[in-house]
């Protein structure tokens, strides 16, 4: 057994433990030196990324891996906490760590002027660790614990600009909504535990029978996680909190939101995987019911998100509403793939949805970074107050154009590749849905063209004569995201073949997820 094997074997635990360790270390280190603190945070993320890379190469080549906490082997009743890492988890943690790295690079100069930064870096590392934990865990209660950590930490980070009353308000709204949601998840976990005396996802998935209680559990889990992912009409916390959090943090909160989306996928595809493909009620298969409910909510999300984004005056809030619409696209894709489970275009829809998840994180993240750069340069939030910034902020302008084209799904950027797959597959389920999605995408382009005109073009206002270009680390962060967006846009197949297709296969193949645990006893 070489050292590499040993590292790969313990990688799932270390991926979560290293950021946690760094977070615990952070208050001590930041008493010593400020620069050391920033370097420590960045190097912890790099180390985590290294372990993720190790784990990814192994899992993608050899199939799911288990990590049992506190014992070497699985024992018959599943008493211990498991991490089960399949290609889907790999896909999610890769996105999370990329977003985290970019956010930390960006915060280097963005947060420089603020105080309380030791707490800031602690909380950021905790948020990353909890997001990674949510995506790796194979235990429902453990999932709940990580969800609560991410909820508390996000709330504290949203309130970072404590001198603005709005930030506190947004944080309060966020924590009320998400703690109530989390409590309902705990109730659902209690119901599962009462029936099957198990907390392990694979064990539960094997024995789940779709009784009345299981229906209640399904509704609770899907609604709460959908709320945390930002489905309309439960999205209202999202513009508030995205719009008021520091933009660097927003990037990581997008990661946490996507982890909730991953929770929806895990619940429907894995936990209820057996039920989905077998159960029938009144000649209507369960998957059609679940799929169409998700599609309905998704279409409302797309329409409301886009229409509301059009009239926003606050730039970050506008982007947040666009993010709601993007979440709608993802739910549209997975709803289609659930409703049409088994047909060939269901796979395409699922792949499109997963690719769109990656693209959404990058595009919306890029736009938030640009909005943060504008805020950094002008200290203004409202679109009405800014104008003609392209003269002084050339690079930011270029990055904004890339983000604009990507989020609106214009070729050849990444947004187009995923939206193309979504349109084509949704069209085969129902053409009207696809047409609505395309129209809303066009409206999205119109919205961001308006933003582009208002912020970058137009006359140069007297107050902005000596506005400076954003600092170098912020440009570097934006450049990284923009480069990724162009790369995925030009070579979508590389990403689809290496990451998205295995992830989609792993999601659909719930039997493998179960047998990895059950067969290992």
């Amino acid at each position: 057994m070489t050292v590499l094997d040993l590292l790969i074997e313990h990688a799932p635990a270390l991926i979560v433990a290293i950021p946690l360790f760094g977070a615990f270390l952070m208050p001590l280190v930041s008493r010593v030196n400020e620069k050391l603190r920033n370097i420590l945070a960045l190097s912890i993320i790099c180390l985590t990324g290294f372990f993720i890379w190790l784990l990814a190469t192994d899992v993608l080549a050899r199939g799911p891996r288990l990590y049992i906490f506190g014992a070497k082997n699985l024992a018959s009743p599943m008493v211990r906490i498991l991490f089960e890492v399949d290609s889907m988890s790999i896909f999610m943690i890769t996105i999370t760590v990329i977003l985290a790295f970019i956010a930390l690079v960006y915060s280097w100069s963005f947060m420089k002027e603020h105080d309380g930064l030791d707490k800031y870096y602690t909380l950021v590392l905790l948020l990353i660790a909890s997001t990674l934990g949510m995506e790796l865990t194979g235990d429902v209660f453990n999932f709940f614990v990580f969800l609560e950590i991410s909820c508390i930490v996000s709330c504290a980070l949203i309130a970072f600009f404590i001198s603005e009353g709005e930030a506190l308000e947004a944080a309060f709204k966020y924590i009320v909504v998400s703690s109530i949601g989390a409590l309902f998840i705990l109730f659902a976990i209690g119901l599962l535990y009462a029936q099957y005396d198990a907390l392990n996802i694979a064990t539960l998935a094997q024995v789940l029978k779709y009784t009345f209680l299981d229906k209640i559990v399904l509704v609770l889990l899907v609604v709460v996680l959908g709320m945390k992912a930002g489905l309309v009409p439960m999205h209202m916390w999202l513009p508030d909190s995205y719009g008021r959090a520091p933009p660097s943090v927003t990037l990581i909160i997008i990661g946490a939101t996507l982890a909730s989306f991953y929770g929806v996928l895990r619940v429907i595809f894995t936990l209820y995987g057996n039920v989905l493909s077998n159960a029938m009620r009144f000649a209507l298969p369960v998957n059609v019911l679940v799929g169409w409910i998700l599609i309905a909510l998704a279409i409302i999300s797309i329409i409301v998100g886009v229409i509301m984004a059009l009239v926003q005056t606050d730039l970050m809030r506008l982007i947040a509403f666009a993010a709601v619409a993007e979440v709608g696209y993802m739910f549209l894709a997975i709803g289609t793939s659930i409703a049409a489970l088994g047909s060939p275009y269901a796979t395409t829809a699922l792949q499109g949805g997963l690719l769109h998840l990656l693209n959404d994180a990058l595009d919306i993240g890029l736009l938030f970074l640009v909005a943060g750069a504008l805020y950094y340069a002008t200290k203004k939030r409202l679109l009405d107050d800014i104008s003609g910034l392209a003269r002084n902020m050339k690079y930011t302008t270029v990055f904004f154009i890339i983000g604009l084209l990507a989020v609106a799904g214009m070729p050849p950027l990444n947004g187009f590749a995923s939206k193309f797959l979504i349109y084509e597959s949704v069209y085969q389920l129902n053409p009207i849905l696809s047409i609505v999605a395309i129209l809303c995408s066009i409206l999205m382009l119109a919205i961001f063209v308006k933003v582009f005109y208002a912020a970058f073009l137009g006359p140069e206002l007297p107050g902005f004569k000596d506005v400076k270009e954003a600092p170098r680390s912020m440009l570097l962060a934006m450049g990284l995201v923009a480069g990724l967006a162009i790369f995925i846009g030009l070579f979508p197949n590389i990403v689809i073949d290496t990451l998205v297709k295995p992830a989609a296969d792993a999601l659909v193949n719930h039997a493998q997820y179960i047998s990895t645990v059950i067969g290992g006893i």
């Binding site: 313990h10 270390l14 615990f24 001590l28």
Partner: protein
């Protein structure tokens, strides 16, 4: 808040050590009797909260540095995760109980069935209890102290 009357202060002064002792007892015997790091930590922290109420938050805030308390909390957390990582080193799994059954510190295996309390059992559990205890004492105390101090001040910031 300037603290309460002399009667309250005296009563709290007498009760405070007992609360401490009881809390530390609960932490130390977490693997034998009901309780553990969290419960014992909460007891000690409520003793400290009693102090805050009786003497006023400013009195306590001047004498105890919140930064130092936060550092203590970090140390507790680091100790907990370090014990878990030691499990990785000595028993090849994260959170492995490498001391149980080793006949070293806390390493005795108790007889099956009803037994008398033996402190020297439990493996790494007592260590984790202590780490969590430190963490909870410092954490809850600093939360209570900061909130009480902030609510007693007219102008906290900006």
């Amino acid at each position: 808040m300037n603290g309460m009357s002399k009667i309250v202060k005296t009563t709290v002064s007498i009760l405070f050590p007992f609360t401490m002792i009881f809390g530390l007892y609960v932490i130390a015997h977490g693997h034998l009797t009901p309780g553990g790091g969290f419960q014992g930590g909460a007891i000690v922290a409520s003793g400290c909260a009693m102090l805050v109420i009786a003497y006023g938050s400013e009195w306590v805030f001047e004498r105890i540095k919140t930064k130092r308390l936060a550092a203590f909390e970090s140390i507790g957390g680091l100790g907990f995760i370090a014990v878990a990582l030691l499990g990785l080193v000595f028993s090849t799994v994260f959170f492995g109980n490498f001391l149980a059954g080793s006949n070293l510190l806390f390493g005795t295996t108790p007889a099956t069935g009803s037994t008398l309390a033996d402190m020297n059992t439990g493996g790494v559990l007592p260590l984790m209890n202590f780490a969590v205890g430190i963490k909870v004492i410092a954490g809850l105390f600093v939360i209570v102290l900061v909130m009480a101090y902030a609510s007693s001040q007219k102008e906290w910031n900006t």
